[in-house]
């Protein structure tokens, strides 16, 4: 008998008293009763608590903000679907900043990713109550590896994509897409349960929220 059949048989035998399937109560909050401003304010508060750097900017000013943050950097990687206009103010700077585009046709190697200063991505949605930004591998967010290997992650989030509670985000996301939920820069509490930022993931997380 295969291991699978064996285990299935054991399970069925274990359940021969036919335990009842309970009706699952769903009394917890499944939608927000906060205003958009409150959600924005809450998200900023939570992300800063995790030691992320947060900037709230009108969408039209996003390119300028990005250029400001990247002043002094020499190279970045972006996913091929990142809105081109966000990068508009980066390239006219005498071309001193190299922008590598990761696309299905030209996938950057690990070594190339390890050599860039930062990655710039969009985000799928964010949960203000927990301070969590979700990436789902859409074209403006790219492969999981590009937002992981560079030491700095700059994430642009549209304020309209902020929800308050996790169930609202779950309803917006598609389970089978490869996802990364990010709540602050990489951290550990493994030594005396004291949280310190900066282990293996990006040590700097900048979030630009576009209003």
């Amino acid at each position: 008998m295969s291991a699978r059949e064996d285990i299935m048989g054991r399970i069925k035998s274990a359940l021969r008293d036919a335990p009842e399937t309970p009706v699952v109560p769903r009394e917890y909050r499944r939608s927000s009763n906060m205003s958009a401003e409150q959600r924005l304010e809450q998200l900023v508060d939570r992300l800063e608590d995790y030691k992320a750097n947060v900037f709230v900017t009108p969408a039209a000013k996003a390119p300028a903000k990005l250029a400001e943050l990247l002043a002094g950097s020499s190279s970045i990687v972006v996913p091929h679907g990142l809105p081109k206009e966000w990068l508009a103010e980066l390239t006219d700077d005498a071309g001193s900043l190299a922008v590598h585009v990761d696309s299905p046709e030209r996938r950057l190697t690990v070594a190339e990713l390890d050599a860039v200063d930062a990655v710039v991505t969009a985000a799928a949605t964010a949960v203000s109550e927990t301070g969590t930004i979700m990436l789902d591998g859409s074209e403006d967010q790219g492969r999981r590896i590009i937002s992981l290997v560079p030491d700095r992650h700059i994430c642009l989030l549209r304020a309209g994509d902020i929800v308050e509670v996790l169930p609202e985000a779950i309803a917006r996301l598609e389970a089978t897409r490869p996802q990364t939920w990010i709540s602050g820069p990489s951290a550990t509490s493994d030594i005396e349960l004291e949280r310190v930022e900066g282990v293996h993931g990006p040590r700097i997380l900048d979030v630009i929220i576009l209003t």
Binding site: A3, K12, A14, T130, W181, T188, G198
Partner: protein, 514 residues
């Protein structure tokens, strides 16, 4: 579909690996208790995390509703486990993942080894996983000539120190920062000799140490926190980014997951991803959560395997009273609030699963007859703190009592003649059956006082009661009982000063029932 189980219920098949204590709990606890550094570290850590947990739990107005949902979702999963597993398997497989089934630790280790061999690699990176700890995978791989590198900071500390984890969430909780520094200086090749004991510096040292391994690893091994039956999605919850590294960079990913880790649907994750981070690290959300479903072309490992592990889980499932122990999401809240764990630490439990949950889960998975684990259900004062803290409302004290009963039954079955405990219980039944009988016994109290002698403590009791005095002294009994004093006080005309040796009390309490 096999139907061999019909009619003839199969006997439960128990688990193996690092589930068995190597020595009985009382013995191990005595040694661990003598380690004052350990107790200081643990006391500090468990108190810090308790406070954090309480604070973030109090923030949510619907925490109790969420616990109710979590508990019911898990009960529903267990009641329908075969269907859940089939659905998960179909979805995961349909998207390019490959599923293997392992009856026990040995089989799981063999499967993982064979999968690594197929890649031709002799090194793998690992993200912290209870299941692989349980089956002793690292040791097995080492015997096979395969080096497995733990990448979680705490696991790395434990591995470098050739030690064992003592906590399911923070395996190095028993080490303080200066001990970690010493381990790094001693065991980490090329480490900066000027390394300080600041946690941030220590974390940086770990980053440097592992960076190259991550960027060049071809094979990774992980566990999983949840598997979603209706989509075939797996989830890993972590903090450092070592999980993301392992789940994203290598070509081959091998995940080992217990069959009980499933949730029926994607939307159930909204409950568990609120319960888990707040209960475990006391954070609103952990820094990183990764989700993957089979293979995503062009993104992450293209060779994706999952080993579904039984290793005694079906035996736990067969125990009607105990099966809710399988609902555990390994948050560690129960050990962080446990007065016994706080003092003995995780090593005393022997098994991969320490603390209150370990005290029920280990014997359920190995069988209570397993000599080393039958003392675990007694490693509790039954104070109930674990039940209150448990995000999925596992009634740990109730299961502990149930397992103590099972243990006594199994001992009795071995012995056949009535044990001292049986005789004592019989005696108690007689004594408490009427006030007269109790009064009669209570007249013996002054004798106890005599036995205690001048320092008013009794150091050694006879028979199995000696088990009690082996680890503690008991104060001498008073010269009269409360009932005797009450009678004196309330018999009209007699006033007795408490503490004075009374004469015979009137036998006026007949008919009063205990």
């Amino acid at each position: 579909m096999s139907n061999t189980f019909l009619g003839m219920p199969a006997l439960p098949v128990f688990g193996h690996g690092n589930l068995n204590a190597t020595e009985p709990f009382p013995q191990a606890a005595r040694r661990e208790l003598a380690n004052t550094q350990l107790r200081a570290n643990l006391g500090h850590a468990t108190h810090t995390i308790r406070d954090k947990r309480l604070k973030v739990v109090a923030e949510l107005p619907d925490w109790e509703q969420m616990r109710d949902s979590g508990s019911a979702i898990k009960d529903a999963t267990m009641a329908n486990l075969p269907g859940m597993l089939e659905a998960f398997e179909a979805n995961f497989t349909q998207r390019g993942g490959i599923i293997h089934w392992a009856r026990d630790a040995q089989e799981a280790n063999e499967i993982v080894t064979a999968l690594i061999r197929e890649t031709g690699e002799t090194e793998v990176v690992k993200v912290k996983s209870m299941a692989t700890q349980e089956i002793g995978l690292n040791e097995y791989l080492e015997e096979q000539g395969i080096a497995a590198y733990e990448t979680d900071l705490a696991e790395l500390i434990v591995q470098l120190d050739h030690d064992k984890p003592s906590h399911i969430l923070v395996p190095a909780i028993h080490k303080n920062r200066s001990q970690v520094r010493e381990i790094f200086l001693r065991e980490m090749p090329g480490v900066d000799p000027l390394l300080t004991d600041e946690p941030a510096r220590l974390a940086e040292a770990a980053r440097k140490h592992l960076r190259k391994k991550f960027l060049t690893a071809k094979v990774a091994i992980s566990g999983a926190n949840f598997g979603l039956a209706d989509t075939g999605t797996l989830t890993v919850v972590e903090s450092e980014g070592n999980g993301r590294m392992c789940l994203t960079l290598p070509e081959t990913l091998i995940t080992v997951m217990g069959i009980e880790k499933l949730l029926p649907s994607w939307s159930d994750l909204e409950v568990f991803m609120q319960l888990l981070p707040r209960s475990s690290t006391g954070e609103r959300m952990n820094p990183y959560t990764s989700l993957w479903t089979g293979v995503t072309p062009g993104d992450g490992p293209q060779n994706v395997h999952l080993v579904m592990l039984d290793n005694g889980r079906t035996a736990a499932l067969a125990d009607k009273m105990g099966r809710t122990a399988l609902n555990c999401i390994r948050c560690s809240a129960c050990m962080n609030v446990c007065p016994v764990y706080e003092r003995t630490g995780g090593h005393a439990y022997g098994s991969t699963y320490p603390g209150p949950i370990g005290a029920i889960l280990s014997p359920l998975m190995t069988g209570i007859k397993s000599e080393e684990n039958n003392s675990l259900p007694y490693a509790s004062s039954l104070c109930g703190a674990c039940f209150d803290a448990c995000p999925v409302k596992i009634n740990i004290p109730e299961i502990l009592v149930h397992l103590r009963g099972e243990d006594i039954d199994s001992q009795r079955a071995k012995i056949k003649v009535p044990t001292q405990m049986d005789l004592l219980m019989k005696g108690a039944e007689w004594a408490f059956s009427s006030g007269t009988k109790l009064n009669l016994l209570e007249r013996g109290l002054p004798l106890g006082k005599l036995a205690a002698g001048r320092d008013k403590v009794i150091k050694k009791l006879p028979g199995i009661a000696g088990g009690w005095t082996k680890t503690r002294d008991i104060p001498a009994p008073p010269s009269q009982s409360f009932r005797q004093w009450w009678d004196k006080e309330h018999t009209p005309g007699t006033a007795v000063v408490p503490g004075m040796t009374p004469g015979n009390s009137a036998e006026n309490s007949e008919g009063e029932q205990a």
